[in-house]
C-alpha cells in the first residue's frame, strides 16, 4: 500500500508542476484533495487494512495530505502571482474608446434659476406664495390701481378669456392682493413673500419675446417698511445672485401699484460695467422693477396705509438665465428641445 501512497504523491506533484491556471488548479485539487479525490480514496482503504497497519498508514496518508495541501498552496500563490503579473502587463485597454453613456437627467433651466431665487429670498425671510394663473381683471388691474382705461394698461398686452371679466395674468402682481388678503389677517399681520409664477402676454413670439414667461414678485408689508429697506434688500439679493461686489443703480420709474417706483439695474456682469453688446454698451442690466406699495393697493389688500407700509419688486428669471448662459433665443425655454435641456 505504501507504493500507492508514493505513487499518488509522485503523480500529484508531477501534475501540479504543469498547472498554470485557476481552472486546472481547481481540477487538480478535486482530483487529489477533494471529497472524491485520491487522498480521500486512500483514507477509504484504511478499513480494509489489518488493524496493526491502520495507524501508521493513516499517519502517512495524513502526511501526504499535508504535503499536498502545502504544495497546492505554494503552486496557487505562484499561479496567482503569474496571472496577476500577466494581467497587469497585457490587460491594457484603449481608454479613448467612448464611454458607456449614462442618462443623468436634468432640471429645466427655468427651475434652476427659480430655485436659486427661492433660496436667496428664503434666507431673507421671504416664503413662497403661489397664486393663480387665470385671474379676474379686478385683481390683475383694478385692485392694483389700474382701473379700466388706465393708460398703463397699454403697457401690457393682455390675453383676455371669452369672459371679459377674466384674463391670463400679465404679471405676478395680482398675487400681492391675494397674499395680503390671505396672510394679512385683515391687515394686522406683517408679510414677507415671493410670488413666482407663469405670466402671459399677447405678443409676437420672437427671439426676444414670448407669450408666456415667468416672474418672481416680492412683497414685504410691515408697520415700518422704508424705501431704504427696499434698496438694502435688493442690494443683498444682487450681491448673492450676481457678485459680492455687484454695483446697483436705481432709476425712477412708474408702476401703478407702487409709489415711489424704481427700476433696478445691476452692473453688467459680462463686461464688468465696461459696456458690451449684451448691456447695449451702457454697463447696466435691468434686473427688477420695484417700489413702495401704493396706498390704494395696501387698502385693497386690507391694510390701513397710514399705519402700514410695504415694498414690492418683480423680476424676470428668464432674462437672468439667458444672460448667465448666453442664451440668445427666449423660445428655447418652452421649446424643450432635449439638445438644449441636456446642456444644463
Amino acid at each position: 500500500m505504501s507504493d500507492s501512497i508514493a505513487e499518488i504523491r509522485r503523480d500529484a506533484l508531477d501534475a501540479l508542476r504543469t498547472v498554470t491556471d485557476r481552472d486546472r488548479l481547481a481540477d487538480w485539487r478535486s482530483q487529489y484533495l477533494g471529497r472524491r479525490g485520491a487522498v480521500s480514496a486512500l483514507f477509504g482503504t484504511i478499513g480494509g487494512l489489518p488493524p496493526e497497519e491502520r495507524a501508521s498508514f493513516g499517519q502517512r496518508v495524513n502526511a501526504l495530505r499535508q504535503e499536498l495541501d502545502q504544495a497546492f498552496e505554494a503552486r496557487e500563490n505562484l499561479v496567482q502571482s503569474h496571472l496577476l503579473a500577466r494581467d497587469l502587463e497585457e490587460g491594457e485597454i484603449d481608454i479613448s474608446l467612448p464611454a458607456n453613456p449614462r442618462e443623468r437627467g436634468g432640471l429645466h433651466p427655468s427651475t434652476r434659476t427659480h430655485r436659486e431665487f427661492q433660496m436667496i429670498w428664503a434666507d431673507m425671510g421671504f416664503q413662497v406664495y403661489q397664486s393663480r394663473d387665470v385671474e379676474a381683471d379686478e385683481f390683475n388691474f383694478t385692485l392694483l390701481n389700474l382701473p379700466p382705461h388706465h393708460p398703463a394698461r397699454d403697457m401690457q398686452d393682455t390675453f383676455y378669456t371669452k369672459d371679459p371679466r377674466v384674463l391670463l395674468r400679465t404679471h405676478t402682481s395680482p398675487g400681492q392682493i391675494r397674499a395680503m388678503r390671505e396672510l394679512g389677517d385683515g391687515g394686522t399681520k406683517p408679510i414677507r413673500v415671493i410670488l413666482p409664477g407663469m405670466c402671459y402676454r399677447q405678443e409676437q413670439v420672437t427671439a426676444r419675446s414670448e407669450i408666456q414667461f415667468t416672474q418672481v414678485e416680492g412683497l414685504a408689508i410691515g408697520r415700518n417698511i422704508r424705501m431704504s429697506d427696499l434698496k438694502g434688500t435688493i442690494a443683498e439679493f444682487a450681491k448673492r445672485m450676481y457678485s459680492p461686489t455687484a454695483k446697483v443703480r436705481y432709476r425712477a420709474s412708474y408702476f401703478p401699484f407702487t409709489e415711489p417706483s424704481m427700476e433696478v439695474d445691476v452692473e453688467c456682469f459680462l463686461c464688468g460695467g465696461e459696456g458690451c453688446r449684451v448691456c447695449k454698451y451702457t454697463g447696466w442690466l435691468e434686473i427688477a422693477g420695484s417700489g413702495m406699495v401704493h396706498p390704494d393697493v395696501l387698502r385693497n389688500g386690507g391694510y390701513d396705509p397710514s399705519q402700514w407700509s410695504g415694498f414690492a419688486f418683480g423680476m424676470g428669471p428668464e432674462r437672468i438665465t439667458m444672460l448667465k448662459h448666453g442664451i440668445q433665443d427666449i423660445r428655447y425655454f418652452w421649446g424643450n428641445d432635449l439638445r438644449f435641456l441636456q446642456q444644463f
Binding site: I225, R251, G275
Partner: protein, 849 residues
C-alpha cells in the same frame, strides 16, 4: 420722443455735458434710450457709459457757416453752377455744385439778402452724398468739367443731419450769423430719444422736459412768451363755441388770424420739425405741430372761410357726441363710422374732426387759405382712449391727450400759436381769444410731515430740502412747523387729491429729484412674519429631484392648446378620458391652435416628443405644471399635474453592446412610478388595470394612492401615437395629480434594522395559466411564505414549447431569513413546501422541473 438739446436750450441753461444730462434724466425717470449726435463730438463722462457713436464730427476749422453771395453759370455744364461763397476768408470761394435749389439764382447778380449755408473746405470730412450706403469722404481739389474745385456747399445728407440731398442747405439770415463761424456752433446738436412712462404725461414736450431738467440741475426755467400781437376786429361775434359734453371737453379756445399767407416755413422751423421726425408741410400746419411738441398742447387749424361757407354765416364750433350713423372722412383719407364714445368737433353742417385725435379733410388748411381759425382744447383722456381703440388711429395729438393734458395749457397754446402763425405768414390777429372753460380742474394741495417723508424713505431729509425740491418742480409750497403744504402746478394732473396717495406722489418727487442713490441701504428692522414652509413647493421640488435622479429631463411646455388638439388624444369612436370640464378660452389668441388652456399635460408633451423625435430616439422627460378646469365659477380650478413620457431604446447605442436591451415599455414607466412612490415614502399605493382611452386598452394602469385614483399610465394608444407621428417606438405616458401626494407622503418613516443572520436563497418556477396576473402569483407566494419570506423577485417569464399551451412559467428568486436565528435547510424546505402547496391549491400551479 425726440428732444434736440438745441430746442431745450430755449428754455433752460444746460451747463453739463449732454451725456451726463442723459444719465441724470434717466435715473430721474425720463429714460434716455439713445443719443443722436449731429456734428458734435461725443464726450466721455466719468461713470456714464454710452454706446460709441459713429457719427460724423464736424471739423471746427473746415466746416463753416458761410453765405452764398452769387451764383454763376458753369461754362461747360448746364447741370452745374458756380456758387460764390463768403466763408469769412479774404475773398469768396468758388464752388462747383449741382445743387438744384441754387439754379434759380444763376447769373442773377449778387443775392440780396445772401443765403446762409454750410461750407466745407478742402480737407474736410463729410458723408458722400451720392453713396447709398454711409461712406465718408475727404474733400480734395480736382477739376469738375474743366473748372478746378476744392471745396463745397453741403447738403443735409453730406453733414449727417438727414437724408436730404436734393439741394444744399439754405438758411434765412439770423442776426447772430457770422460768415466763417464753426458750423458746429450753429447746427451742431444732440437729439435725445426719451421714453416716457404713463405718469409722465406732463413731459411730452420740450417745455415738459425742460422743467424736469431745470429741477434736476437746479436752474431757472425760462418760458417763451404766450402773448400775441392782436390788431384785428375782436374775435367775439366772428365765431361761437358750444360745448355740449363738458366732462369730455372741459375747455375749448379759439384764435383767429386774417389775411395770412400759406407758404413754406422758414429753415429754423423746418429744421426743428425734421430733427424730431416730423415732415414740414406749410407754415400754418407746421405751427400746430411745433406747439404740440414745444408746449405739449396739440392744436388744430381750420380754414375759417370754409367754416363760414359751411355755416352760411358766422360759424359755431360745437363739440358733441356723434349722431347715430354719422361718418367723417379724416385727413388720413379714411371714412370713419363714428361710434357713440367719440367726441367730435363739429359745426352746424356736421362733423369737422375727431376731437383731440385727427382733423377732417373738409376744413383743412390749403395753399389758398387766407383766414385761419386756431383751436386749442382740452379733452378727457379716457374718452380719447376709447376713441383710439374704436377708430384704431394714433396721432401725435392723441398720444398726448390720451395720457392727459392739463386744460390750463390750451390758452397758452392758442396765444403762442396764433402769434407764431402771424410771424411766419403775416396777417392780422383778431383781438382776444374765445375761451370756453366749463370745467376747470380743482387745484390739488397735499400736506405731509417731514417725519412721514423720512419714515417712508428711510433717509434724513430737512424740511427746507424737501420744500425746495417741490418748488423747483413749480409746486407752491408753504412750510409750517414740520408740515409741508404743497399745491400742484397747473400743468400736473398726476398729483392725487387723496391725502395719503398725494403724500406718496410728493414723496416720489422728492426722492427722485434728490436722487435714489442718496437713500441708504438698510436691513428691515420690522417684525419678521412667522416662517411657514410651502408644502406644495416642497413636494414639487422633491418630485423633480427624484425624477431627475432617475435620468429624466424636466420640460416646461406652453399651457396653451386648443379643444381640437386635445380631442386628438382619444382614439376615434372612443369617449375621451380627459377631465370633463369647461375650457378657459382665449378671446384674442396668439394662434388658433393656442386658443384655450390645457386640460392635460399630455397634449403638449406629445407635441414636444414629436419635435424631439427628429433628433433623439430615447426620450425620458417629465413636466410638473397646472391644468385649467372650468368649473362654472368665475375662475377655473388650477390643479397641479405631473406628466412623464418615456420612449425609445432603453439603453443608448454603445460600442460595448449594451444597446441590446430593447425599447422602453410599460414596465419602465411602472418602475419610474414605483420608485417615485418609494422615494416619497408613500406606502399606501396600488395599481389596477386602466381604462383611460388614450392608452392601449391592454397596456395601461390606474395609480391608486390611499385608495383613490390619482391618474393613469401606460402605452399610448397606437392610433393616438400615429396622429403625433410617434410610431418609431412605443410611447409610454403617465399623468398624475400632484396635490394628493402632498398629504400621503410620509415625512417620517422608520427603517428596518440590518439582519445579522444569514439568508437562504433559492429559485422556484411555477407554471400557471397564461391569464393569471403576476401580481396574484406573487401575492400567493408572499402570503404562504409568511414572515420569513423576505423577498420574492420575479426574474423570468416564459411561454413556449417547453410548457403546455395556454400556460406561462414564472420564475422567482426567493429570500428566506429570520432575524432571530440562522435558518436550517429543513426550515427552508418547510417554507418552500408551503409556497408550492399554496400555489398548487390556489393557482392550480405546477412546479416546473
Amino acid at each position: 420722443m425726440l428732444v434736440p438739446i438745441s430746442w431745450l436750450r430755449d428754455f433752460v441753461d444746460i451747463d453739463v455735458p449732454v451725456e451726463l444730462l442723459a444719465e441724470r434724466l434717466t435715473v430721474a425717470g425720463l429714460e434716455v434710450a439713445h443719443l443722436k449726435y449731429i456734428g458734435l463730438p461725443q464726450q466721455s463722462v466719468e461713470g456714464v457709459r454710452m454706446p460709441r457713436s459713429d457719427h460724423l464730427v464736424w471739423d471746427r476749422d473746415k466746416l463753416l457757416l458761410a453765405r452764398i453771395v452769387e451764383v454763376k453759370a458753369h461754362p461747360n455744364a448746364d447741370r452745374l453752377v458756380l456758387a460764390m461763397v463768403d466763408y469769412g476768408g479774404e475773398r469768396p470761394e468758388q464752388c462747383v455744385t449741382g445743387a438744384t435749389n441754387l439754379f434759380r439764382y444763376k447769373d442773377a447778380g449778387p443775392i440780396d439778402p445772401p443765403i446762409w449755408s454750410a461750407f466745407a473746405m478742402e480737407g474736410a470730412e463729410v458723408w458722400d452724398g451720392h453713396s447709398d450706403k454711409p461712406k465718408r469722404m475727404t474733400l480734395k481739389g480736382k477739376e469738375l468739367r474743366g473748372i478746378y474745385n476744392k471745396s463745397m456747399v453741403c447738403s443735409e445728407k453730406e453733414l449727417g443731419i438727414s437724408d436730404e440731398h436734393e439741394g444744399v442747405i439754405v438758411m434765412e439770415h439770423e442776426a447772430h450769423y457770422v460768415a466763417g463761424a464753426p458750423l458746429a456752433d450753429v447746427l451742431g446738436d444732440v437729439v435725445l430719444d426719451i421714453e416716457f412712462t404713463p405718469n409722465l404725461a406732463r413731459c411730452f414736450s420740450m417745455i415738459g422736459v425742460a422743467r424736469e431738467v431745470a429741477a434736476i440741475l437746479g436752474v431757472e426755467m425760462r418760458y417763451p412768451s404766450f402773448d400775441f400781437l392782436a390788431e384785428g376786429e375782436p374775435i367775439e361775434g366772428q365765431v361761437h363755441i358750444d360745448i355740449r359734453e363738458p366732462a369730455l371737453n372741459p375747455r375749448f379756445t379759439l384764435a383767429l388770424l386774417r389775411d395770412t399767407e400759406v407758404k413754406q416755413s422758414p429753415f429754423w422751423m423746418q429744421h426743428r420739425l425734421k430733427l424730431i421726425g416730423q415732415r414740414p408741410r406749410n407754415n400754418i400746419v407746421d405751427v400746430t405741430n411745433y406747439l404740440t411738441f414745444e408746449l405739449g398742447q396739440p392744436m388744430h387749424a381750420f380754414d375759417y372761410d370754409k367754416l363760414v361757407e359751411r355755416a352760411g354765416g358766422t360759424p359755431t364750433i360745437i363739440t358733441r357726441l356723434p349722431e347715430s350713423g354719422e361718418q367723417l372722412e379724416t385727413l388720413d383719407d379714411v371714412l370713419r363710422d363714428l361710434g357713440r364714445e367719440t367726441i367730435l368737433v363739429a359745426d352746424s353742417a356736421g362733423a369737422l374732426s375727431l376731437g383731440g385725435v385727427i382733423g377732417g379733410g373738409d376744413s383743412e388748411i390749403n395753399d389758398t387759405t387766407r383766414n385761419v381759425l386756431l383751436e386749442a382744447a382740452a379733452w378727457n383722456n379716457i374718452s380719447i382712449r376709447k376713441t383710439l381703440r374704436e377708430q384704431k388711429v394714433h396721432t401725435e395729438a392723441s398720444t398726448r391727450f390720451s395720457r392727459g393734458v392739463h386744460p390750463s395749457q390750451a390758452i397758452l397754446g392758442c396765444g403762442r400759436g396764433i402769434e407764431l402763425m402771424r410771424q411766419l405768414g403775416g396777417g392780422t390777429v383778431a383781438r382776444g381769444l374765445l375761451d370756453a372753460y366749463p370745467v376747470p380742474p380743482e387745484q390739488v394741495t397735499v400736506e405731509v410731515s417731514i417725519e412721514r417723508i423720512e419714515g417712508l424713505l428711510g433717509m434724513k431729509v430737512t424740511i427746507e430740502q424737501a420744500a425746495q425740491v417741490l418748488r423747483r418742480l413749480e409746486f407752491e409750497v408753504t412750510v409750517a412747523g414740520d408740515l409741508i403744504r404743497a399745491t400742484a402746478p397747473d400743468h400736473r394732473l398726476d398729483i392725487s387729491a387723496d391725502p395719503l396717495v398725494g403724500q406718496h406722489d410728493l414723496l416720489e418727487e422728492i426722492a427722485r429729484i434728490i436722487g435714489y442713490d442718496q437713500i441708504p441701504d438698510t436691513i428691515m428692522a420690522d417684525e419678521m412674519p412667522p416662517q411657514r414652509e410651502n408644502t406644495t413647493v416642497l413636494i414639487e421640488e422633491r418630485i423633480r429631484d427624484i425624477l431627475v435622479g432617475s435620468g429624466l429631463y424636466e420640460t416646461i411646455n406652453y399651457r396653451f392648446t386648443s379643444r381640437e388638439s386635445e380631442a386628438q388624444l382619444a382614439p376615434s369612436g372612443a369617449q375621451s378620458s380627459l377631465p370633463q370640464a369647461d375650457y378657459v378660452e382665449i378671446a384674442n389668441p396668439a394662434a388658433s391652435e393656442r386658443d384655450a388652456l390645457r386640460h392635460t399635460l399630455m397634449i403638449n408633451m406629445l407635441e414636444t416628443a414629436a419635435n424631439n423625435a427628429r433628433y433623439q430616439t430615447t426620450q425620458q422627460v417629465f413636466e410638473i405644471g397646472k391644468v385649467y378646469l372650468g368649473a362654472g365659477e368665475l375662475l377655473p380650478e388650477e390643479p397641479l399635474r405631473l406628466g412623464i413620457l418615456l420612449t425609445g431604446p432603453r439603453n443608448p447605442a454603445w460600442w460595448g453592446g449594451a444597446g441590446s436591451a430593447g425599447d422602453m415599455d410599460f414596465f419602465d414607466m411602472k418602475g419610474v412610478v414605483e420608485s417615485l412612490m418609494h422615494a416619497l415614502h408613500i406606502s399606501d399605493f396600488s395599481m389596477k388595470r386602466g381604462t383611460h382611452s388614450s392608452y392601449h386598452p391592454g397596456r395601461s394602469a390606474d395609480l391608486l394612492v390611499a385608495g383613490a385614483c390619482i391618474g393613469s399610465f401606460g402605452e399610448l394608444h397606437p392610433e393616438v401615437a400615429a396622429r403625433f407621428k410617434l410610431t418609431d417606438a412605443k410611447v409610454i405616458y403617465a399623468e398624475f395629480a400632484v396635490e394628493p401626494l402632498i398629504w400621503q407622503q410620509q415625512r417620517l418613516h422608520a427603517i428596518e434594522a440590518l439582519p445579522t443572520t444569514p439568508a437562504v436563497l433559492e429559485d422556484i418556477a411555477l407554471v400557471v395559466n397564461a391569464d393569471t396576473p403576476a401580481s396574484e402569483v406573487e401575492a400567493v407566494i408572499r402570503q404562504a411564505g409568511g414572515r420569513l419570506l423576505k423577498e420574492a423577485l420575479l426574474f423570468d417569464v416564459y411561454t413556449g414549447d417547453q410548457i403546455p399551451a395556454g400556460k406561462k412559467s414564472l420564475a422567482y428568486a426567493l429570500t428566506y431569513q429570520d432575524e432571530n436565528r440562522t435558518l436550517t435547510d429543513k426550515n427552508a424546505a418547510k417554507i418552500r413546501r408551503k409556497i408550492i402547496g399554496a400555489a398548487q391549491h390556489r393557482l392550480k400551479a405546477e412546479l416546473r422541473a
